[in-house]
């Protein structure tokens, strides 16, 4: 089935649209390019409005504030009390005769407001013989359901944004529900439920005929009810576990790399201690440095006289006056004793005269020389001390600089931590939520284990009760007819259950095969993954080369491609040959992935009608190089008064 024509009157921006979506060549591709607010999304809305009476894609800027879908210009032109209508018509054709869906809604103006009056939905079936048959009300709705069931519309008419967040939520349940929808298990479930209601009525009638039967029936009903409650409880717990796991995963991703506030506060305390001890060390070094600087100043101040003294000593050493050659003190003692201290002989008068002469000549020189000789080592010590002080001052400067840097770094880190802690106040809520979920998850896992154990008991009791009921029933001679009905219904129920299981298995297998086909066609890094699987619990896994599941770590753009692959797989398995209509299909993809996206949709257009609505930015080179010439390209323009949009064909493939 494909949409041949879309006609609107007074519907939002589409005041008067008559759009033919003719197929050109072997591809059924229709590309619309228009700026935001020009009416792309309202083309989607026009389709769902016509088929289901509901607009599913309303944003706040796009009529989501609750305004009626009546064109703004037409609304303004209405006088008080005047009535007008809008309508949307879709002409659909498959292999058989054409179908025309038409929804018309009337509005009346009261004061400034416009109120909906009534609505009419008609389907016109054009038979092969050329007659037109009109259906209205539930009959018309049933026909719309056969074109695209309302429950499945999200797979046929949707916003590309939906693909971005597709696997963000608890996807296991969603996939299971969607596989069930695609398999139309709902029809089997409805049949099963209705059959069960009828059977219970018949059993109650049987109970009225015999007290034993009533007793067994009551026990059977009770056991069935307990089992059903237990199963429902297990499903609820499982669903809570799945959504807690999913939310936990999301929270852990958000909190990844973000330490919790308590950790940051501990780190802050450690840094403060480090700063305090650093400041103490700094103080010690600064005091020592001050002392050394004073000492150095004194030593440097003595530098000139010291140099002169050293020079003098050097000169005197050079002329042999230092160390002194005559020991005047020894000579003085020899004169006083009249005896030579060296040989012990008495001094002659001649020797005494010579000694007196020698003393007279050398006394001054020798005293100074001896003193100079004595202070020479002290001068060397001063020099050495000055060197030591300079070395120590260098070390102290290094240490002081290092401690100052450490303190400054720690202070900066503390200031960063303070900024983060204040920014993390919002995170604190998430941390608490994560902790709460982890506890709840543990509790639920425990509850699940207990409920599963209880279920075994309930199943045994239900089985016993059913057997007992069957036994009592077999002993009853009366009410043969009712007994036959119960037994017949039980057989039918069993077969329905087997069909449900079988179809789910078959559909799941087909979807898995198809999703692999599309995913590996769409992604550019084909070598990075081994396969996509849908497990017994309906969890979708993207298996990497090492065999691990990469779904949670894969890039957002690849996740979007996986969601598109899943959608295309559901399409091929659904059996509904309805068009695929996507608004902003390639938003948030780029480069090769955008090209692959476009390529895949061109391929899909060989089998079914594909309608794509792009902004000019999205219809980039990667897209246009794949799509130009492959179908019909149209531009969407908004009139100068901004109350009516129009479509202009740019190219026909």
């Amino acid at each position: 089935m494909r949409i041949e024509r879309l006609i609107t009157h007074n519907y939002r921006q589409w005041k008067d649209l008559d759009l033919s979506l003719d197929k050109r060549g072997d591809r059924d591709l229709h590309v619309f390019v228009g700026e935001n607010t020009y009416g792309k999304t309202n083309l989607l809305n026009a389709i769902t409005y016509c088929l289901y009476g509901t607009e599913f894609h309303l944003s706040i800027d796009n009529g989501g504030k609750g305004e009626p879908p009546l064109n703004r210009g037409s609304r303004q032109a209405l006088s008080d009390g005047e009535e007008t209508s809008l309508w949307v018509e879709i002409l659909v054709r498959g292999n058989g005769p054409a179908l025309r869906f038409r929804r018309e809604t009337w509005f009346r103006k009261h004061g400034e407001a416009v109120h909906k009056q009534r609505s009419r939905f008609i389907v016109t079936r054009h038979t092969a013989s050329g007659n037109a048959v009109l259906d209205e009300g539930p009959g018309a709705e049933a026909i719309a359901e056969r074109f695209v069931p309302k429950a499945l519309k999200d797979f046929f008419v949707f916003d590309g944004e939906r693909l971005t967040t597709y696997f963000d939520q608890a996807h296991r349940e969603r996939i299971k529900a969607e596989v069930q929808q695609m398999a139309r298990i709902d029809l089997l479930s409805l049949a099963s439920d209705h059959l069960s209601t009828v059977t219970k009525t018949i059993e109650r009638e049987l109970g009225k005929a015999n007290p034993d039967i009533e007793l067994a029936r009551a026990e059977k009903d009770k056991a069935d009810e307990l089992l059903a409650n237990c199963v429902a409880e297990i499903e609820t717990i499982q669903s809570q576990i799945v959504s807690a796991e999913s939310e936990l995963h999301e929270l852990r991703e958000q909190l990844k790399g973000i330490p919790n506030v308590a950790d940051l506060e501990r780190q802050r305390e450690d840094l403060k201690k480090k700063i305090e001890s650093g400041r103490a060390e700094l103080e010690v070094r600064l005091t020592e440095k001050f002392g050394l600087l004073v000492e150095q100043r004194v030593l440097v101040g003595l530098g000139v006289p010291r140099a002169r003294t050293e020079k003098l000593i050097k000169e005197k050493e050079d002329i042999g006056e230092i160390p002194p050659s005559v020991n005047v003190e020894v000579l003085d003692r020899a004169l006083a004793a009249g005896v030579c201290e060296i040989c012990g002989q008495h001094l002659s008068s001649e020797s005494i005269q010579r000694i007196k002469k020698l003393i007279g000549r050398n006394s001054v020189i020798s005293v100074v020389g001896a003193q100079l000789h004595r202070i020479k080592p002290s001068l060397a010590v001063h020099n050495e001390r000055l060197g030591q002080i300079q070395l120590r001052l260098f070390e102290l400067r290094e240490g002081i600089a290092q401690y100052s840097r450490d303190i400054a770094d720690a202070e900066k880190t503390i200031s960063d931590i303070d900024a983060r802690v204040s920014a993390l106040e919002g995170m604190r809520v998430r941390v608490e939520r994560r902790d709460g979920l982890e506890t709840a998850l543990k509790d639920n896992q425990l509850r699940l284990g207990m409920a599963l154990e209880r279920k075994v008991g309930c199943e045994a009791r239900a089985k016993r009760a059913a057997e007992a009921f069957g036994q009592v029933l077999s002993t009853l001679d009366d009410a043969v007819k009712l007994r036959a009905l119960v037994s017949f219904a039980a057989r039918a129920q069993k077969i329905l259950d087997r069909i449900k299981e079988g179809i789910m298995l078959e559909v799941r297998g087909k979807i898995e095969k198809s999703i692999n086909y599309w995913f590996f066609k769409l992604i550019s890094r084909r070598q990075s993954y081994r396969e996509v699987t849908i497990g017994d619990d309906y969890s979708l896994r993207l298996i990497g080369l090492d065999g691990s599941d990469c779904l949670n770590t894969v890039a957002a753009s690849e996740k979007k491609l996986l969601a598109l692959a899943f959608t295309l797989a559901l399409h091929s398995v659904s059996g509904f040959n309805a068009p695929l209509i996507i608004d902003t299909p390639v938003a948030e993809t780029s480069g090769d992935q955008r090209r692959n996206f476009a390529k895949a949709l061109v391929e899909v257009s060989q089998d079914k009608q594909v309608v794509l609505l792009f902004t000019p930015v999205e219809y980039s080179t990667e897209v246009s190089s794949e799509m130009d010439g492959m179908g019909t390209k149209r531009s969407i323009e908004l009139n100068a008064d901004e109350i009516a949009s129009g479509v202009e064909v740019l190219s026909n493939g």
Binding site: F147, R184, L187, H194, A484, F488, A492, I499, G502, N577
Partner: protein, 61 residues
């Protein structure tokens, strides 16, 4: 448009596969699935009638 859309056709084929040894149940399920697809409002009554009709037909056989 055919009176039996694709998914109903598939369900009916499945019924035939799974209930092949039980012709009465098979025709009963085919009938109720077709009816479900038509969104009959008074299903309980219709189910009861169908059930009686098929169980009776089975008895007569």
């Amino acid at each position: 448009m055919s009176s039996q859309p694709a998914e109903i056709g598939r369900l009916l084929r499945a019924v035939k596969d799974y209930a092949k040894d039980d012709q009465s149940v098979c025709s009963f399920l085919e009938a109720i699935l077709t009816l479900e697809n038509e969104y009959l409002p008074h299903y309980t009554k219709v189910y009861r009638q169908l059930l009686e009709q098929h169980a009776q037909a089975e008895d007569q056989r």
